[in-house]
């Protein structure tokens, strides 16, 4: 490996430009759309017949659309984009076939759109976190493979031999998603298994998607950003390795609720795994603590804030899941809004915030145009309370709902009524998140547009500068 064969960071960034622009802009648009459906679903709790005349706004379609767009529209493309940039930067190599990857990204977004139309037509698969109909699922799988293959080729062509933790996480995420997604497509949509086995497959998929894939992709970004933003080395290589293996080993068993209608060993193993997730959680907390302590960097609503809040949310959500796996507590919290609450915290608090930090970090390098720090701070101070206001009332409402459900003398309707306050506060959180998403969309689009405007300006400047010389000659 010679110095001439290693491209400069600037060259690497510009090789990422096309796929990253496609992935990030699409992700931002889908995030805003998902918030619209989230608010629509949330309005049902204020006025149940609000969408009585409009099928697409009813809860049964708005809620699947929300989760579909949030996970497949926003989370996966942004995670992939960040991962691609990390593989290129850390490997000191230009992205292989950026054009093909951007085609894959467009195909992915088209698949998300097809899935959305399917859900709007009432063709949802009916499995939570796997709502998309099968024709859309196949498009997404193909698009992911197309992008993942070239991301892997980028990795294998790297000039830097030694690996940084972010690379393991990104690589694992490239393989994990096709595995769980294709298995689920086959077992639920092409050769459907029978009876409650369907639920176990769907829960397994949701557990792997939310607790493994999002963690892998999110922590890849966290482990890159923290040392860069605090200007300190990551503490340490072995702790990060420990987080990596424990997330893979324990995370993949999670997802099956304790009182599910499945043989006891499945839910028992799953709840034991949820408790074991405390190990990577503490390891991650140690990494973050040891890396950032004593750092002179002020947070002040900037990127470090996003990243730290992401880690905090990850820890809170993991802790809540572990607590809810204890038999005495699961009796109350199972099949209430509690579990949905900490899943929301994981999605909005951990994953989305980490991705915002990573995208705000990467995009200026790729586009060559800085994003005004004020707009980043504004986003943080809207999105952070939004995530908390959405998740925390739902967690508390879930506990109240579970206590009422366990009370034999209370009528069933009471159990839903006590959770209502949580939902109504949650609407406020949803609105704040939507405002944050709009700021994010504006930031991403302005950055991309400014990039092309700068190019156009310099082209015009070149042309006008050349003209006189030509005339003189």
């Amino acid at each position: 490996m010679t110095a001439t064969s290693t491209p400069s960071p600037k060259q690497i960034d510009s090789s990422c430009r096309l796929p990253l622009f496609t992935l990030f802009s699409g992700a931002a648009v889908w995030l805003v759309m998902s918030c619209v459906f989230g608010i629509a679903a949330s309005m049902t709790f204020h006025k149940p017949d609000i969408f009585a005349e409009c099928t697409v706004g009813t809860y049964g379609r708005a809620y699947p659309a929300w989760s579909h767009l949030l996970v497949y529209g926003f989370a996966i493309p942004s995670g992939l984009g960040v991962g691609l940039w990390l593989l290129a930067r850390l490997g000191r190599v230009e992205v292989a076939k950026p054009f093909v990857i951007s085609i894959g990204a467009k195909l992915w977004h088209a698949g998300v759109l097809v899935g959305l139309v399917g859900i709007m037509n009432g063709q949802t698969s009916g499995y939570e976190w796997f709502e998309l109909p099968r024709y859309a699922a196949v498009i997404l799988l193909l698009a992911f493979m197309l992008m993942a293959i070239w991301a892997f080729v980028t990795y294998s062509r790297r000039n830097e031999e030694s690996l940084y933790p972010s690379q393991w996480f990104t690589l694992a995420s490239l393989f994990w998603f096709p595995w769980i997604f294709s298995t689920t497509i086959l077992l639920l949509q092409f050769f459907p298994v029978r009876g409650v086995v369907q639920s176990s497959v769907a829960w397994w998929f949701a557990g792997n998607l939310l607790n493994v894939w999002l963690t892998l992709s999110g922590l890849a970004a966290t482990f890159y950003l923290l040392p860069k933003l605090t200007n300190r080395p990551l503490q340490s290589h072995y702790l990060a390795l420990f987080v990596f293996w424990t997330v893979l080993i324990f995370g993949t068993w999670t997802g099956i609720p304790m009182h599910s209608p499945l043989p006891a060993w499945m839910s028992t193993l799953s709840s034991a795994a949820a408790v074991m997730m405390i190990v990577p959680m503490l390891a991650l907390a140690s990494v973050v603590f040891l890396t950032t302590i004593g750092a002179k960097t002020a947070c002040g609503g900037g990127l470090l804030c996003f990243s730290k809040f992401g880690v905090l949310s990850f820890n809170l959500a993991t802790l809540a899941a572990a607590i809810a796996a204890c038999p005495a507590i699961a009796r109350i919290t199972d099949f209430t809004w509690f579990n949905h609450g900490h899943t929301t915290l994981r999605l909005y608090g951990f994953f989305a915030m980490t991705m915002f930090a990573a995208i705000y970090y990467i995009l200026p390098k790729v586009s060559g145009v800085e994003i005004c720090p004020r707009r980043i701070k504004g986003h943080f101070w809207v999105a952070m309370p939004g995530a908390l206001l959405l998740a925390v009332p739902m967690i508390i409402g879930g506990i109240k709902q579970g206590l009422k459900l366990a009370d034999m003398s209370a009528p069933f309707l009471d159990s839903t009524k006590v959770a209502m306050l949580g939902f109504r506060i949650g609407t406020l959180g949803e609105v704040l998140i939507a405002i944050g998403a709009l700021i994010f969309l504006a930031n991403v689009l302005l950055s991309i547009i400014s990039h092309y405007r700068v190019i156009a300006k310099s082209a015009i400047a070149d042309a006008t500068a050349k003209q006189p010389t030509e005339v003189r000659l």
Partner: protein, 211 residues
Amino acid sequence: MNADPKSSCSETTEGEPTATMTPMPVWLVALMVSLLFLSAWYFDLYGGWFESKVFSPYVSVADVQRFQPKTGGIADTVARGKKLFADNCAVCHMETGVGNPANGCPPLIDSEWVKSPTATRIAMLISKGLSGPITVNGKVYNTGVMLAVGDSLPGSEAEKAEKIAAIATYVRFQFGKITVETKTAQVQAVRESIKDRTANFTEEELLKAEP
């Protein structure tokens, strides 16, 4: 806007981040091992050891069996007899044992023929069938012919006897509330004594065999 990629809020150093090679803290490994131990213990207590019959909140096969209805030890034979009865007898006597009086088919419920002290009569009846009228609970049923259902059961002689015993056990348990199992050996002995007979029995002959 500033076209310079140098950013004041994000980038503090050039170059890629590095990780220190500080060893793993021991407490974390100790914690993982102890949590693994607790998880294994927890699984041992609640997991039912991969038994597909055990569902939460039950924890083992023994636990599940404790909650099964108690039948006094003949449950398996009764269950087998129930299936055979449904296949061979229920056409006339009905699944519920009420019979079909309009066609001369007597009920089995609380019938003295079913509740006889030994199962000799019922074994003969099932084996060779019945011709002519029969009195059940003081009412005469003008049975034409009950076929030799027992003889026409599929299988060897030993299998026929076992099946007849199961049917007799079920009928006597279900319709006569008799919780004594009819043994295959008993049926075999009865069938041995009537093995050369081809005609159906009559009411009179049956009463002679077991008054």
